[in-house]
């Protein structure tokens, strides 16, 4: 039973940091540097994106003299003359809010189905289904919208088929996975005892859900909806194909409209870099950027209230 060499006696200098660095010191240094590089690189990329988009976006107002008021409240968008981007801002908000109105409840039902009604089998059916929905690329969503949803609306609901309705239908399917998965996690993270105690009081399942389960995880559920809206607000290709792209505030849900992203997708390529029209498009990209910040901060506020 030989000992693994005499155990080293613990003299004083042995413990001090010897000049010749130990192996583990270098290891630690490498680890710290490597991970720091990754995070610094990530931050530099984000900062440079924000810098580039805002420098070009703000040029419209400072160099080209387009007034902020006209840009945000003007209703006519006729490049080189008037740069009223209100139609696009309203279009983006309308499409996003309606999509959230559709996908929110739908997502909640799916999440409830997975966690409350049929936890075992339900999850095995719905979870892959929802994830596959998120896998379908936006290009394919666009073409399905163009070839299925628009004709359907045109024939059965009237109008041109294009417009806010088509846009929000396509978007609601696209953001459904985000909303459903976050809601399902929120419902699953609920302490089990809560449900049992409510059921023990003789409440029916729906009373338990509506009076106990949902109120306690409401902030997390709303977080899912807000993140879904963030995704909808930034979607470009799929929306551009079904929205119709008329730069006006539409009269009805089935009249050609436009969003910030659809206008950027449409015209960015056709405009020469540095021209007023191009800068105005970058200003719209800046609005998209700011909205992303707003959504994330909204989520932070919701998370703060969600202290279960």
């Amino acid at each position: 039973m030989g000992q693994m060499g005499k155990s080293t006696s613990l003299n004083h200098n042995d413990m001090k940091k010897s000049k010749r660095r130990e192996k583990h010191y270098w290891e630690e240094w490498v680890g710290r540097i490597y991970t720091s590089i990754c995070v610094v690189l990530l931050l530099v990329v984000i900062v440079s994106i924000v810098f580039f988009v805002s420098s070009k976006g703000l040029a419209t107002f400072f160099e080209n003299g387009v007034s902020l008021k006209e840009f945000f409240t003007g209703r006519t968008w006729n490049p080189d003359e008037s740069f009223g981007a209100l139609p696009f801002i309203t279009g983006s908000f309308a499409v996003t809010l309606l999509a959230a109105l559709i996908a929110g409840p739908l997502g909640l039902c799916a999440a409830l189905f997975m966690t409350e009604i049929l936890p075992g089998r339900g999850k095995r059916i719905l979870q892959p289904a929802v994830e596959l929905l998120s896998g379908i690329p936006s290009v394919v969503y666009g073409f399905i919208g163009l070839s299925v949803i628009v004709p359907f609306i045109r024939d059965y609901i009237g109008g041109q088929g294009f417009g806010i309705l088509a846009g929000c239908l396509v978007l609601s399917i696209m953001i459904l996975p985000t909303i459903t998965s976050i809601m399902a996690d929120a419902l699953a993270s609920l302490p089990g005892g809560l449900r049992e105690s409510s059921l023990a009081l003789g409440a029916t399942r729906w009373q338990t859900i509506s009076r106990v389960v949902i109120p306690t995880v409401l902030p997390a559920l709303l977080t899912g909806v807000v993140l879904g809206m963030a995704r909808a607000f930034g979607e470009a290709l799929a929306v551009q194909m079904v929205i119709g792209n008329a730069p006006h505030v539409p009269g009805s849900l089935t009249e050609s409209a436009a969003t910030l992203t659809s206008t950027i997708t449409l015209s960015m390529g056709n405009t020469a870099m540095g021209s007023v029209h191009n800068n105005a498009l970058w200003s719209m990209a800046l609005v998209l950027l700011l909205m992303t910040f707003v959504f994330v901060i909204l989520v932070r506020l919701l998370e703060r209230r969600n202290r279960i």
Partner: protein, 251 residues
């Protein structure tokens, strides 16, 4: 091998809450010292500061000295990693690595530069024998450590600590999550190991403290009330507080 090892005015602060208040305690060579006291009295925090594990908790701050033959382990200049290689530690919940039994033991020595297979095999067998686990696992060394029972996993953790030949072994309630049979095996193990290395054990179980330890220290609200030979403490302790705790009047 008789090096002095003990603390002098050791305090541990979580933010501004002082969990351990200026404790000086000496651990004689080849002895088992048991730390007992009601939960929340700071005995585990004190144990964890000995091999500076509290440093891994960001808001914890340790003041005072931990003397190990003349050098203060609490001195910032001390190389924490070299320090921890001298002191082994085992927790209440067995935490073997998600690796095979062999690799769990061989990981420490291999990290310290031991490359030859023959030597590693010898250390693994040696450590498992010391942890009284060799006969139960000698023919399935490559199986996942998670396939062992709770008691076996705990002994594996002890074997892993022994594989790097520490001078001191810290046990934080090693048997409180185990069945009586495994607890018995662990206690036998402790009394055998004590002639090789110094052991400090934190436990809730006073009978266990009486059975395995040479010295016992009673902790209460972050302070050390009394420290003496184990049989002295459990027959007629000096301090009334210790007497109340021993006789189970409270805590």
């Amino acid at each position: 091998m008789s090096q002095a090892f003990g603390t002098e005015h050791l305090s541990v602060f979580y933010g501004d809450f002082e969990a351990v208040k200026g404790i000086s305690l000496e651990f004689p060579a080849q002895s088992v010292t048991a730390l007992i006291g009601p939960s929340g009295c700071g005995k585990s925090t004190f144990l964890r500061s000995l091999n500076r594990m509290n440093d891994t908790i960001s808001q914890a701050r340790t003041t005072g000295h931990i003397w190990m033959n003349g050098s203060d382990l609490n001195d910032p200049a001390t190389d924490v990693i070299k320090l921890r290689q001298q002191i082994g530690m085992v927790w209440q919940k067995p935490n073997p690595f998600f690796k095979s039994i062999y690799n769990n033991i061989a990981f420490g020595p291999r990290y310290r530069g031991m490359k030859k297979k023959k030597q590693l095999d010898e250390i693994v067998e040696n450590s498992l024998r010391k942890a009284a686990l060799w006969d139960e696992v000698k023919d399935r060394l490559n199986e996942s450590a998670l396939s062992l029972s709770g008691g076996q996993q705990q002994r594996l953790c002890i074997a892993r600590a022994l594989s790097v030949n520490p001078n001191i072994l810290l046990l934080d309630e090693p048997a409180s999550a185990l069945d009586p049979v495994s607890t018995g095996k662990i206690e036998e193990l402790i009394s055998e190991l004590k002639n090789e290395l110094r052991i400090v054990i934190v436990t809730h179980n006073m009978q266990q403290a009486a059975r395995v330890s040479d010295y016992t220290a009673y902790f209460y609200l972050g302070k050390m009330i009394e420290r003496d030979k184990t049989d002295k403490i459990f027959t007629n302790p000096e301090n009334k507080l210790t007497q109340d705790y021993i006789s189970g009047r409270f805590g």
